[in-house]
């Protein structure tokens, strides 16, 4: 009875030896346009094998436990921070990336990867406010400040119709920004203030949710969310397609917000780093980079892509913020182990309730 299993095992283990040029890309789902993949496969004469993750944390946990076999990852800045510090990435041979000059210098030379030794920007999003425009006008609520998420005097008008992200780093960052601190502030006193602010607002929130909040917003069960700009953009497209009597709009808070830049990186043990570099250079071309933005409304750090992006997306200040707003956006840094532990305890206390 065990024989078929061994046969299957032998076939599966022999599989990789028989495969031709394969490029293993570990990416977010729906984070690359199918046409782009196809064009790359023609260009490099290889097969792109995609696997997906849906959070940076899942990616980090899997890598920390020793998973290998991936040639490229697309983590967000704070995860890149953790990977670099944990010495898990392969340095990039920039001589193979002539298209790197297309990237807006604002997004290069980050504090966690000075000189871009390990990472290259891919796409970005901001974590902002999403809202149902009809409801917010009806209730007379502002949509350009975090106060509408944290201040009970506004919240009581939308009680039970607001969700916030179920992400301790994102929510603390928003609270810290609202209180006037940096999103990367690590002062325990400031964290306690943020925790108190969150606890005061919590009774009015419907849920901490990062997975199903967008569809509730789109159908009108939820009227106000703390969410990702890409998701909110998509929600509006879906709402219009379903002919809902309202629009889902993005609100950029004047206190500032978190900017999440996703980067292409190569894991230390990648088998085909040559293909990875080819892919990087390919995605640094304006046309290829623009396809994702046109597909999901993601921000784009590539200056050359601008001419290929749809005008209505270019005009959107939440996707392409002007200099004034951009100055208030911050990328999150990774925390030290002790800080993570403290924040985790505070987060658990928030979610345990009384």
């Amino acid at each position: 009875m065990k024989k078929p299993v061994w046969l299957l095992a032998a076939l599966l283990l022999a599989g990789p030896a028989l495969a031709k040029d394969e490029f293993h890309l570990y990416n977010w789902n729906n984070y690359i346009a199918p046409e782009t993949i196809k064009r790359f496969e023609d260009f490099c004469k290889c097969t792109v094998v995609q696997s997906y993750y849906s959070s940076n944390e899942e990616l980090l946990a899997k890598l920390a436990a020793g998973a290998k076999g991936y040639d490229m990852l697309v983590p967000t800045a704070n995860a890149v921070d953790a990977l670099i510090k944990g010495k898990r990435l392969m340095p990039i041979d920039k001589s193979q990336l002539p298209n790197l000059k297309n990237i807006d210098p604002r997004y290069l030379d980050t504090p966690f990867d000075p000189g871009n030794k390990f990472s290259v920007p891919y796409a970005m999003s901001t974590t902002i406010i999403g809202y149902n425009d009809v409801k917010m006008k009806e209730l007379g609520l502002p949509t350009d400040t975090w106060a509408v998420i944290f201040d009970p005097k506004y919240l009581e008008k939308v009680k039970g119709r607001v969700t916030v992200l179920d992400d301790e780093n994102e929510l603390f960052a928003a609270a810290l920004k609202y209180l006037g601190y940096s999103a990367n502030d690590t002062d325990e006193k400031h964290w306690k203030e943020a925790q108190a602010l969150i606890n005061k607002a919590k009774p009015y929130w419907a849920a901490f949710n990062a997975s199903s909040y967008i569809k509730e917003l789109t159908v009108g069960n939820i009227w106000l969310v703390h969410g990702y700009s890409n998701d909110i953009f998509q929600a509006n497209l879906d709402a219009q397609a379903a002919k809902r009597p309202f629009k889902i709009l993005q609100g950029m808070p004047k206190e500032g917000a978190v900017l999440a830049v996703d980067n292409m990186v190569i894991p230390k043990d990648a088998q085909r780093s040559d293909l990875a570099l080819k892919f990087m250079n390919f995605m640094l071309e304006g046309k290829n980079s623009s396809e994702l933005t046109n597909l999901i409304g993601s921000g784009n750090p590539n200056m050359d892509a601008v001419k290929y992006i749809k005008p209505e997306i270019l005009k959107n200040p939440a996707i392409f913020p002007n200099k004034e707003v951009a100055a208030k956006l911050e990328q999150l840094r990774d925390l030290t182990a002790a800080q993570r532990r403290l924040r985790s305890r505070m987060w658990t206390e928030i979610k345990a309730g009384h």
Partner: protein, 303 residues
């Protein structure tokens, strides 16, 4: 005499393969994580190196944290409560189902059984999303409930993003794991016993409570174990449709491994959870030892 023949080779052939498999693919990997609970968390995630400056870096810090920071124990108690409620409600819902299937004629029995498990071959996420549609504020159910409440002067309550939603879905996903063991037990009940009782004048309730239920106890305990124990560790349902304070210990454990990247503490919480679950199961088995119908308990009765 016959029992003596059961020892030796037969015993190893039957117990050997499962024990061996579970030692290799469960016990050994788990020991890695049990060891991890005594280690220091890695600065950037995972675990710190085992040997620090030439000596073994093992400590009890993570265990001490669990006993010092009481919030974890609080959430743990809440999870036990949810799991208990889930078990009771699924038992109530599953018993008639299992009884119906067990008493049906052979023609329909297999089909009815398959019909119980068929929904669970669809994907978990979309089943939960279906519940979000059913419990949504604009759906019929919520409107009815809130209408009734309004009639009594009470404000509207949310059905979605609440403990109610979490419990309903917990019962929903647990149901087949209560039905199947119950069915396996009820199927062998001899209808002649019930007919005899009926002939002697027993009412339907008496027949159930005095004959059927006691005989079905092994099935009840099996179903309860297969519902209660996994329910303790669940996290996906509160994540998707729980309210702001519906976090369970499963969510905290997941958070330790993913966001906080504190594997030693995650291991400590997991070990506490596992030990508690096994202790509760062991306690229940000990309390019920007369009813489990094992050879040892029957030997006691004969003695």
């Amino acid at each position: 005499m016959a029992r003596g023949r059961g020892r030796g080779l037969g015993r190893w052939l039957v117990s050997g393969p499962p024990i061996a498999y579970l030692i290799v693919f469960f016990a050994v990997p788990s020991l890695i994580m049990v060891l991890a609970s005594f280690r220091t968390p890695g600065e950037f995630g995972g675990l710190a190196p085992l040997y620090e400056d030439g000596h073994l870096d093992l400590n009890l810090e993570s265990y001490l944290r669990f006993f010092e920071e009481l919030v974890y124990a609080r959430i743990f108690v809440k999870s036990v409560w949810y799991a208990l409620l889930t078990t009771l409600f699924s038992l109530g819902l599953a018993y008639p189902l299992a009884a119906l299937i067990a008493r049906s004629s052979k023609r329909y029995r297999d089909l009815l059984l398959l019909l119980v498990i068929l929904p669970f071959w669809s994907n978990f996420l979309i089943r939960i999303y279906a519940w979000m549609i059913i419990l949504g504020p604009n759906a019929a159910l919520a409107k009815t409930v809130n209408g009734v409440l309004a009639w009594f002067g009470h404000g509207p309550v949310p059905l979605l993003f609440s403990s109610f939603a979490v419990l309903v879905c917990l019962v929903y996903v647990s149901l087949p794991f209560m039905v199947l063991p119950l069915y396996a037990n009820l199927e062998k009940h001899d209808p002649a016993l019930l007919e005899a009782a009926q002939d002697l004048g027993a009412s339907a309730w008496q027949r159930f409570w005095r004959i059927t239920f006691p005989l079905s106890l092994p099935g009840v305990y099996a179903g309860a174990a297969l519902v209660f124990i996994p329910a303790l560790g669940i996290f996906a349902i509160p994540d998707i449709l729980g309210g702001p304070e519906d976090s369970l210990i499963g969510n905290v454990i997941k958070q330790q491994f993913l966001e906080t990247r504190d594997w030693p503490f995650g291991s400590v919480l997991s070990i506490v959870l596992t030990v508690a679950a096994l202790a509760i199961a062991g306690l229940a088995a000990w309390v019920a030892r007369g009813n489990l119908g094992t050879p040892s308990s029957r030997r006691e009765e004969r003695a």
